[in-house]
């Protein structure tokens, strides 16, 4: 396949988005809306074809598909061209972007299929599919971008789609508020992204990833020391962008609110793909981060704090989607912890496994919500296992994976993270904080088990709290929803073997054939990882993997037991339908800490300043002085001086004469002198 065909990967979903958008707009006022079958076909076909193309173009890394070029790189046109700055529009399909594309398009296509079932009855079906397809296109551009601005194009594009989809049911003001909040939080991060890009440009002289990596790899110690502050600044500023996109502290508060969107959106955008873009970007710029160690320490600490905060907040949620959202925030913290300890490929592995099990969990939650006709309060569920078997199956495997019980996807990736943290070396002052962080991470893993088991218990395992009528009307899961659920459930179970492999020698398959991820990213990430290791030597491995796996499993099992034991009877009291689901008391304070901080430090001051400036400067000072000037002008020009106000013509002429006299005076002074 030709590298020039790369553009097709984002273009296919984009084309589907455009057609669906046109259909949606064209039929917006019709009684029936766009033809659903056509919309659904287009919507699923776009991402599915992209997935197929990705596989067809799959860049090999000495793996099973020998003989293909390692990296596809295509430049299409000059995006910016001018005397100050020039930038070609380049798409890249290397191992890193290929891995991301694999699950972005693959899981994306599955979630599109799921959405067909989930949203079929919605009036805005075509509009929804248009946004989803547009999101796919933007996400693909983000992943395939060959330079920071191209990535930024996708970066804000996914932000836009996220905005549109969170606010999809925009009649609800709260939903529209949540959408706007998400966009603005992301914008804050995006400013960091831009400033970081400028800093990088002034250091490395280019915004192209290859050139930046090249510069970082080839720069000698003296140059690095000289550019040190600017490098750290660039790394931190870009990390601010990642914080925005991946909902890390201090920009974490938008993601839980984003659950206002339809559940497939939460699964696709706010769990599997978009929110991991921050991790992806840090990995993409791994060469930069390893030469800016302080920045990487910040990444580690932020990830750690976010993981802990998210896990604790996840404990107190009543809304099933909110609980999963805080779980996502927490898991993203894990990914950043991995990246912060220099294990970029492990971070991406967790991104990969997380995409499967979190998508499975969200889609299962969606099936539950669909089954219960938009009931999201877990206190009003319970005992759903026999009623929604497929949802239960997917949720169960997802739970298995996220909790980190042996052999599911999350088990491997979480253990790898703990291992790298425990052995890692990140200096804060003179202190090596990596092992401390590993302790916090272990605690967080335990908490994860507790709150995820709480979710499972409240929804599936505790006694049923539905009244008879609601129980009779539980909607079955349609086929379009079941198929993706089952595939993702399977994925959450086996995705982990993509790193560790399976002993399948008996079948004639080489041992590393399945474990493709472990070495797959090496062409991109091995160099920075090794550089980091060289500069920050890790301890001996020895029997540690087994020890950590054992401890991790123990903690997870303990957490799960606690979770089940505490909530197996369901909540103390069952609230009435439609009551507030936000946690109150200390749980509320904890959950909304960052919201309130932003509210009091930024939102309110901006509005207050806006009103103050508007009323004081614009209206009072400028307004009154202008009004006075105008009254004076009127008095002179419009004849207020005259006894009779009608004498406007003469007064105007009088002014003309005065003006003439003034002009004459000027001429006399300057010319005649």
């Amino acid at each position: 396949m030709d590298a020039q065909l790369l553009w097709l990967i984002p273009a296919l979903p984009l084309a589907a988005a455009l057609v669906n958008g046109a259909l949606a707009l064209g039929t917006a006022r019709d009684a029936y809306g766009a033809p659903r079958a056509l919309v659904a076909l287009l919507a699923v076909l776009g991402p599915a074809l992209s997935f197929a193309l990705t596989l067809a173009l799959w860049p090999s890394a000495g793996g099973p598909l020998e003989g293909l070029p390692e990296v596809y790189r295509a430049t299409y046109f000059t995006w910016f061209a001018g005397s100050g700055f020039a930038l070609p529009f380049t798409l890249v399909l290397d191992q890193l972007s290929a891995l991301m594309l694999l699950f972005v398009t693959g899981i994306g296509a599955l979630i599109h299929l799921y959405s067909v079932g989930y949203m079929w009855a919605d009036r805005g079906f075509a509009r929804f599919m248009c946004y989803m397809n547009l999101f796919m296109a933007a996400m693909i551009v983000l992943v395939m971008g060959g330079s920071l601005p191209v990535t930024f194009l996708g970066w804000e594009g996914v932000g836009l789609c996220s905005y549109l989809l969170i606010g999809f049911w925009h009649e609800r003001t709260a939903y529209a508020d949540a959408a706007r909040k998400a966009f603005v939080y992301n914008r804050v991060g995006d400013l960091g992204f831009l400033l970081g890009a400028f800093a990088l440009l002034s250091v490395a002289g280019s915004l192209d990833y290859a050139a930046i990596s090249q510069w970082c790899r080839s720069a000698d110690a003296a140059r690095l020391a000289e550019a040190g502050p600017l490098l750290s600044l660039a790394a931190l500023a870009i990390f601010l962008g990642c914080c925005g996109k991946s909902a890390q502290i201090p920009l974490a508060a938008w993601l839980p609110d984003a659950m206002a969107g339809p559940t497939p959106v939460s699964a696709l955008i706010h769990a599997a793909t978009m929110v991991t873009a921050g991790v992806f970007l840090v990995a993409r710029l791994a060469d930069l981060y390893v030469v800016a160690p302080q920045a990487l320490t910040v990444v580690l600490l932020v990830g750690c704090a976010t993981a802990l905060w998210g896990a604790i907040a996840g404990l107190v949620q009543h809304d099933i989607k909110k609980a999963l959202a805080y779980s996502t925030v927490s898991q993203l913290g894990f990914m950043f912890m991995a990246a912060g300890s220099g294990a970029f490929s492990v971070a991406l592995f967790h991104v990969f496994t997380h995409a499967f099990f979190k998508a499975a969990l969200f889609l299962a939650a969606g099936a539950v919500i669909h089954g219960l006709h938009h009931e999201q309060d877990m206190r009003r569920m319970g005992g759903l296992r026999p009623h929604l078997p497929i949802a239960y199956l997917a949720a169960f495997y997802g739970w298995w994976a996220i909790v980190g019980l042996p052999f599911a996807a999350g088990f491997f990736s979480k253990d790898l993270i703990l291992e790298h943290l425990w052995l890692g070396h990140n200096e804060l002052g003179a202190l090596n904080i990596a092992p401390l962080v590993a302790g916090v991470a272990l605690l967080t893993a335990g908490l994860t088990a507790v709150y995820m088991t709480r979710v499972m218990t409240l929804v599936f395992w505790s006694p049923c709290r539905l009244d008879a009528e609601a129980r009779a009307h539980i909607a079955p899961t349609p086929l379009t929803m079941s198929v993706p659920l089952l595939i993702l459930a399977l994925g959450s179970l086996v995705a982990g073997f993509a790193w560790v492999g399976l002993p399948l020698d008996a079948l004639g398959i080489p041992p590393d054939a399945l474990a493709f991820i472990k070495h797959y990213l090496a062409p991109v990430l091995a160099a920075p990882e090794q550089r980091w290791l060289a500069a920050h030597p890790h301890g001996e491995l020895g029997n540690l993997p087994w020890a950590i796996a054992g401890v991790g499993t123990l903690v997870a099992a303990l957490g799960a037991l606690i979770g089940y034991a505490v909530w197996r009877q369901g909540p103390a009291q069952v609230p009435s339908a439609g009551s507030e689901t936000a946690p109150s008391g200390w749980g509320g304070h904890w959950t909304f800490a960052w919201d309130r901080l932003a509210e009091w430090l930024i939102v309110k001051p901006v509005f207050a300043l806006g009103y103050a400036l508007y009323w004081v400067i614009e209206l009072a000072i400028l307004g009154i002085s202008g009004w006075l000037a105008m009254q004076a002008a009127r008095a002179l020009g419009a004849g207020y001086l005259a006894v009779v106000q009608r004498a406007r013509l003469r007064a105007n002429l009088l002014c003309a004469v005065l003006g003439g006299a003034a002009f004459l005076a000027v001429v006399i002074v300057f010319v005649v002198r």
Partner: protein, 109 residues
Amino acid sequence: MPTDAAFFTPIHVQVLAALLFGLGLTAALARRDLFIVLMGIELMLNAVNLSFIGFARSHAGSASTLGQLAPLFTIAIAAAEACVALAMVVLLVRQQDTVDTDARSALKD
């Protein structure tokens, strides 16, 4: 004829023209009687004519003649202006029964 002995020079003609122009302007602006306003305008035109003729004395050849030619046009235009203006005054007086300029507010807005 010893012209150089004269006290008045062409510049005094110009000063006189300026003064008459000022008087005309005052009449046009300060008075509200339409007739007097019109007369003020005529006076201003006359002052300009005087200025032309005064300057004609300070040039030779066709430039001098031009100074005498220009007032011809002014006079013609003044005649046309008086013709139309008086017709309008008649019309206005018949319609509104006043010659007060400040009553002419129909023009504004």
